[in-house]
Symmetry: C2
Subunit: 367 residues, 2 copies
């Protein structure tokens, strides 16, 4: 296995062991409350008869699949509930490779490090294709990279780590490229509730038999530990995905699925809007401070992250540690996200101390 | 993917749609209460701060891994908490194949159908090796079947579907065979709390660097839907297993792990003994009725199942359906478990109506 474990843990351990006070902007764990209905559903579940503690259907509780299908405007038969978005991505990528349609996966660079890790594990060859400097899709570069050996293209929008929200027309063009070389396109939309532009459109609206959309409730309900995600598969691929899911995991965790189903039904839109507004405010405060620090950055259009570049301070692990020790702020080195952002550092906005962290960075770099 | 979906669902659907009253002896879902401490822990969990709802460590909550390690007398670093025993078996089998030590898996016949399914999915070649007629290990047959191409041997004790509890000396001999051909041995001990002989010994006592032991809490705590299992890997293999687990599932479900950890710490031995005694009583009642029905069977030494053979009534899907319609009892066709028990039908003892089912079978076959 050629996969290198994500550097997240290394940075978090270093920050935790540091002498001074350090603000953690490393992990993508939401720091706000989950929906009240989720807690209430867990309490209810604890008192259900013991039959409710046994295997859910392998592809997920029917009522949860139906609720997802309704929200996504797809047939419930196309929905597989998974152990988080991570498993959904694994199933989708595995499906792309098992078709004997090539071994190459095109991944956008900067890249979420689990993607090349999964590709390697599945015996595929990851090829990194740089995005534009603002994080938007470079369709021409993807077209140029695609070949008969391409089995898979992976997109993530809103994007981790760039914060870009992809234009649907650009996604449509990527799907056309994929079709021409018999590749599948996996679009990871786990941050779809955190679109700050108001213009995000799901790739499901393309209604393409080439597109697998993955998502989950880890971020939208602030429950990364519950492990409830899903994939929406084209009809031709859903049975294979269900079989692999069954053979790997048998089924997902029923207490988690039960709680998410109730939270999905009973949580008002205001809950999601509040979290989004909170993130938008933090993005404002943080990027203001980056201006004061003289940093280059892209204002995030969505997701939880800001990539920033400071002059003469490349995004190496060594510099990230220096920032922990000397500024009291922990970020993620850009070199962890492929090759395109070696100069950059990623900061996650999921801490109530975002503003304090911004001030520390402005003080540290602003002289 | 060559895997044929288990026939469980087909039989269960047929039984549910039948006109008359049918006693379900198909599934392996315990029908008794989970530990009281498990329900209490779930209630507690629902009120924890939101940090407790975020990712657990990928390899499982530390306190749970330590509790498992203590019970199993192994180093906690060797324990990976998984999404049920199913994922633990998947990780273990994948590890056996990724070593470039061959493509063949030796599976005992009759076989739990997920095992050949996983082997196929992983690109391996399953070879079925018959056990003795009483279900015990035929070490000579395994020795004869083993070759340089053998990468993996899978054992399950107490066994589903035969009910056999393997003699530790026989397991030791199988491990020696595996060592000679550079294979790993996966021993699935998920039914270890349901040893009716009092003589079961874990393969971990062999202290072999060839042996991966898998297990979980689905059966022992009557919570098949919680998805908490684990693998105990030899030092040389644990890092690869952790990496694959992370790349497939990121982590397991934290509410489930939290509840299991508390139940493990607070549940008295009497809880497990009561469930075991219940099963022993049911095995007595059921096999008495099989005597009255003139059936051949093996009295289960452990696990939840009885395999029975009725004269002129082979264990085909058609005959299983006939039994549903004409006797009001649903079992599993022996042909679902490999090739060695085509003549047999498996009955699961996890229904409070075991005795009634036994009487129905005695009436139906006893004339």
């Amino acid at each position: 296995m050629e996969y290198e474990e994500p550097k997240f843990f290394h940075v978090m351990q270093y920050a935790a062991a540091a002498d001074g006070d350090v603000i953690d902007m490393v992990s993508g764990n939401p720091d706000w409350e989950p929906p009240a209905a989720l807690r209430e559903a867990l309490r209810e579940y604890a008192d259900l008869p013991s039959e409710a503690f046994q295997y859910p259907p392998s592809e997920g509780l029917l009522e949860l699949r139906e609720a997802i299908a309704e929200r996504r405007s797809v047939d419930p038969d196309r929905v597989v509930v998974t152990n988080g978005t991570g498993e959904a991505n694994y199933l989708a990528m595995a499906r792309a490779f098992e078709r004997d349609a090539g071994a190459e996966a095109l991944l956008t660079d900067p890249v979420y490090p689990y993607y090349p890790g999964k590709v390697d594990m599945l015996g595929g060859d990851p090829t990194l294709v740089p995005t534009e400097r603002d994080g938007s899709l470079d369709v021409g570069a993807i077209r140029e990279a695609a070949s008969e050996d391409t089995a898979l293209v992976v997109l993530n929008t809103p994007n981790n780590p760039t914060g870009a929200v992809y234009d649907l027309d650009a996604v449509r063009e990527v799907v056309a490229v994929a079709e021409a070389v018999d590749a599948l396109v996996v679009v990871d939309e786990v941050y779809d509730h955190f679109d700050l532009t108001g213009e995000f459109e799901s790739a499901l609206t393309l209604d393409s038999d080439r597109v697998i959309v993955t998502s989950g409730f880890s971020k939208s309900m602030a429950i990364t530990g519950f492990r409830v995600g899903y994939g929406v598969f084209p009809e031709d691929h859903v049975d294979s995905a269900k079989t692999r899911h069954m053979l790997v995991n048998v089924a997902g965790a029923r207490p988690s699925q039960y709680a998410v189903h109730h939270a999905l039904a009973e949580t008002p839109p205001e809950y999601y809007a509040e979290a989004r507004d909170l993130l938008a405010d933090r993005a404002d405060a943080f990027t203001d401070a980056l201006d004061a620090a003289g940093a280059e950055y892209t204002r995030p259009e969505g997701a939880f992250y800001v990539l920033a570049r400071f002059d003469d301070f490349p995004g190496t692990m060594a510099n990230v540690k220096r920032l922990v020790d000397e500024a009291g702020v922990a970020g993620m080195p850009g070199e962890a996200f492929g090759t395109a952002r070696d100069e950059w550092i990623r900061f996650a906005l999921v801490t109530p101390r975002t503003e304090a962290a911004a001030e520390r960075l402005a003080d540290y770099f602003g002289d």
